[in-house]
Structure formats: structure tokens, C-alpha cells
Symmetry: C2
Subunit: 326 residues, 2 copies
Amino acid sequence: MSTEAFTRGRPFPRQPNVMVYQRSHPEKFAAALAELGVTHTVCGSEQSGWDDREVSDVEVVFGWNVPPALLRQMPRLRWVQWSGAGVDAVVLGGGLPAGVRLTRIVGQFSQPIAEYIFSYLLYVVKDLERMRAAQQRHVWEPFRAGRLAGLTIGVAGLGSIGREVVRKARAFDMHVLGLSASGAHADCVDRHYGPSEWDAFAAAVDVLVLCLPLTDATRHVVDARLLQRMKPDAILVNIGRGALIREPDLLNHLAHGGLRAAVLDVFEQEPLPADHPFWGLSNVYVTPHLSGPSEVEATCQFFVDNLVRYLSGQPLLGEVDLARQY
Amino acid sequence: MSTEAFTRGRPFPRQPNVMVYQRSHPEKFAAALAELGVTHTVCGSEQSGWDDREVSDVEVVFGWNVPPALLRQMPRLRWVQWSGAGVDAVVLGGGLPAGVRLTRIVGQFSQPIAEYIFSYLLYVVKDLERMRAAQQRHVWEPFRAGRLAGLTIGVAGLGSIGREVVRKARAFDMHVLGLSASGAHADCVDRHYGPSEWDAFAAAVDVLVLCLPLTDATRHVVDARLLQRMKPDAILVNIGRGALIREPDLLNHLAHGGLRAAVLDVFEQEPLPADHPFWGLSNVYVTPHLSGPSEVEATCQFFVDNLVRYLSGQPLLGEVDLARQY
């Protein structure tokens, strides 16, 4: 144990054994942690051949999409810091060993994801595609572009991401409705809906943005029945998880002229297969799960801040309530 | 004179003779005015054959790009309400007869123009073009998109449009600098620059947005020398007037790899000729002066509100200071 380890000037009372598990470049994460004073780390990915002894000594995991089978090989495991915002992959399959705490990153993805959302809302509503096409033809054809101002946006999920969407929607003078399970931030929207009020919520909005966690309660919440409730010129945006939407229902709805546009950054199967019909639909905007990029330094800093809390017995940031699944 | 004429419940004490001069559909404006209780109107456009007697009786003109020669045929003319925000066409040529008041529309264009600006800033910074191209090829290629957050935006001109840009920039967590002649709204930006500080202002920003009126002082303010001061990856946006930029200098600067992008909604010559090089440059976004559309009803309401003020001797909204030219 190093008594020289400091982060932001705070010494660690001890160095727990930490496994850094990342899909790509785990060594970058380990190096960033070392800079922050976390020294007792083993790091690797799904390709790694893990040393049994190293694995069995792990007390803390800092990782993303860690296989449950690997977690079960850690008798000393006490805490998993997920390096993403959505923990469905470890929670929904019951992959977390009993008694282990789970935290997720909160706050860090709000800004880029909200920028992503407004980039597409403006692109669609102001019809930049038409402007770009006219430029390619060198033709001067003014038209009356649409406006976000005055439209009603419905934000499903009022966590840190949803609330950042609300904040930006205010600056665009939109009417703002919200739906959330807890109702904890109901006062940030013009009208709040509970999970039993999806139909009225969906019917009221021009733009529906899904910022929800994937749980048993939210899986396939956007299905054929709900889509039928939506305005035919509404825009649907999903930055949460693909399985919030029953994708065949959405495809069928779009094929029948429902919705003005669907902006999809997440899918049930990722990468989205090259032959999936979403790619080719003119009013579907497909992006490769890039709206909320995980950044090594910021993610490591979040973990280290939480590690200090963990070691000193303070409440952890972003702790997942396993009963509600997020 | 009709004693039945009311607007928002207010009777007009008298009906002055009003000329409605609009490039297209002047009769729509006249009809909207009639609904608002303004009955003594003649209406037409550049194609109209005007009756000399009608013209000589005109006291008030409500119009856009009215030829100075026509204005000089109106011995009783007292007030011109321009139906746009920029009055350079009538002010800079000295086209307004002496003693005639001039007002312009203020406030009405701020929201759509600011939406236009942020649609393109997000399009460029987040590289939606790359996302769209990847979708066309059905390839899943995540990349780290840029962010507006943390960039520095410089807003030149802090009138109603510039201030709306500032407001939205705040919601995107940008650093906000401003330049204006009067300094009247200097407190809305992080740092304010005067007209003698263009160089420092231009050098400090990642995004330069021109929301200025065209005056003798602002004509060609963005020239080769100023462009050299700008960061090589800066974005230039012009929604003011084409002649704020010395266009050959901008073309030359772009040809040498200067600037990340130029977003141009206004040009020295409009429509932009089909063979103009701006059309074909991959980092120039050409749009046909559509960012701030004039809307008949809103414009007529503004005029009628001002007419009530005119008739009762109250200060007019949007009155142009002819000495400063806006």
C-alpha cells in the first residue's frame, strides 16, 4: 500500500485492489487512475486472460459491460463502478453478485447528449437537408423554415440528461412536459406525468425524447399502441437504450407515414446490422451510439471521487437502486 | 374616416393615408391591416403603376425597399415604417426625404434567426454531415463529436437579435463575448468590446456571429486583415448584411485554408449568382436570406402598434437614429 497516493491533495487511507475492465484501451484508464493516485490495479478487457489469483483478490471493479461470470469469480468484491450511465446490462440479467454495491456515472453525459438532441431537432425542424440540397444545385430558393419555439417537447426521464434537455428547451422557448417514475424533478417541467400517464403524455408532444434507463418497467414502452397516440408529425428521439422502443412497431408505424422523424442513437442490437431497414428510411436518423461519449479522464475522475467516498464511508455518487433497476 | 376603426379595442383618432409597399403580395398586407382597422391604404409594389394623386397624399409608408424616388413624390410624407430589421437600403443612399421619421421592425426576427444560427453551429461542430454520410453507406462508425460547450462565441451587434444569440449561447455553456458600438447591453456578455477593438475580439473567438446593421462604419468590417486575426478553426456566421464582409477577401482566406466554416445567409448581391464560388465550397454554408422571415400578420401588428403611438404622439418603436444609420 502506498502512503504517497494522493488525489486532489487527499490521501487514500488504503489502496483496495481495483480491476479496470474496458472494451478498448483499458491501459489508458489504468494510466489515468495511476496519475490520480490509484495504484493497485489490474486491467484488461474481454480478450484478456485473467490471472485467477488477481481476480479473486479484486475488491472494486471499474468497468463497462463486465461479464457477470467474471464478477462471480471475485469473493472479495464489494463495489462495481460502471463507467457508463446505463446499467441495464449488469442489472437486468441479475448479473451482480448479492451484497455488491453498484454505481453509475451521472452528470457527465448530459451536455454532449443534449447538444446531440438539439442538433437533430434543429436539423429536422429547420429543414437543413433542403437548404443543403439547394446549395448543391446552386439555386436560391428561400422558404419558410420551421421553428422550435412554441413546440411542445416531452422529456421522458428527468435524470441529469433529461434535465439538461429541459434546460436547453427553455432557451428555445419550447413548452416542456416531463414524465418520470419518481417525480423527483417534477417542478422543472410545465407539466409532469407519472408512468401510468404515458398515453396522455405522448399525445401532447411535438417532440418525444427518451432519456430513460432500460428497466423491466421501461422495456418496449414505445410500442405500436403508444405510437398511435402520438401526433403524426411528431419527432421521436431515443438516446436511452434501443429496447425502450419495440423496433418492429416503430418500423411499421413509419411505413404507414406515422411520425415526422425518428432520431435514433441506440438500438436493440448494436452495431445496427448493415441490412437493417432503419438505415435506409429518409426520415430516420441513425447514429452509432455516439451522443454521449465516455471520456477517459472525466470517467476516471468520477471513479476516484467515488473511491474517496467509498474508503471513508460516505454515500456514493450515482448509486444504483437495484430494486428500481437504475 | 371611419369612426368604427379599432385595433385591440383602441379607436384610431384619425386614419392617415398609408401606402403599403411590398415586393410580393402587398394586398395580403393591406388585408391584414384592414382587419386591424387601418382602412385608408393604397397598396402595390415596384410593378405597380401608382396614381400621382394617391402618392402625393401619402402621409405614412409601410414597406420594404421602397424606391427613394417614390418617397420624394410624397410632399405630405411624415413617417416610414420599414417592414424589415435592416434599413441600410433606405438610409445609406440618403434616400429618405428630410424631416421624415423612419422606424424598423425590432424583436420579431430574433427567435428564428438565433435558431438558424444554432442549427448550423451544431451541424458543423457535431459534424452531422459525417453522421449522415455514414448512414447513407449503412456503416456503424462511432466518432467523438465536438461540443459547443466550452467554445467562445463572439456576438457582433447586441441588438435584439444579438442578445437572443447570447441567451441561447448561455444554455450551451459557451463563453460569450460581445462587440457593439453603443455598449448599451455590455453587461449581457462576459466581456464587451467597442468598435475600436475588433482585432482583439476576432482573435479571441471560436465562433464569430455578425448581427450588425450595415452602416458606413460596419461596411466590410470583416476584411482580409481581420480574417487573419481569427483562429484558423473558427466559424464565421453572417445573418446581418452581405456587405459586412468583403467577400473577395473571405473567398481568398477560405482558399488558403482559413476558417473551419462560413455560414452565410446574406450576400452583397442577392440572389447569389449561380456561378458564385461560395456555392461550391465544402465549408461554406449558403442559405438564401431565409433566417429571419418576415411574417405578414406579425409585421402588420407591429406597424399598427406603432401607428397608435404615431397618432397619439408617443415615442415610436424601433425608431432609426439617422446619424448612426440604424
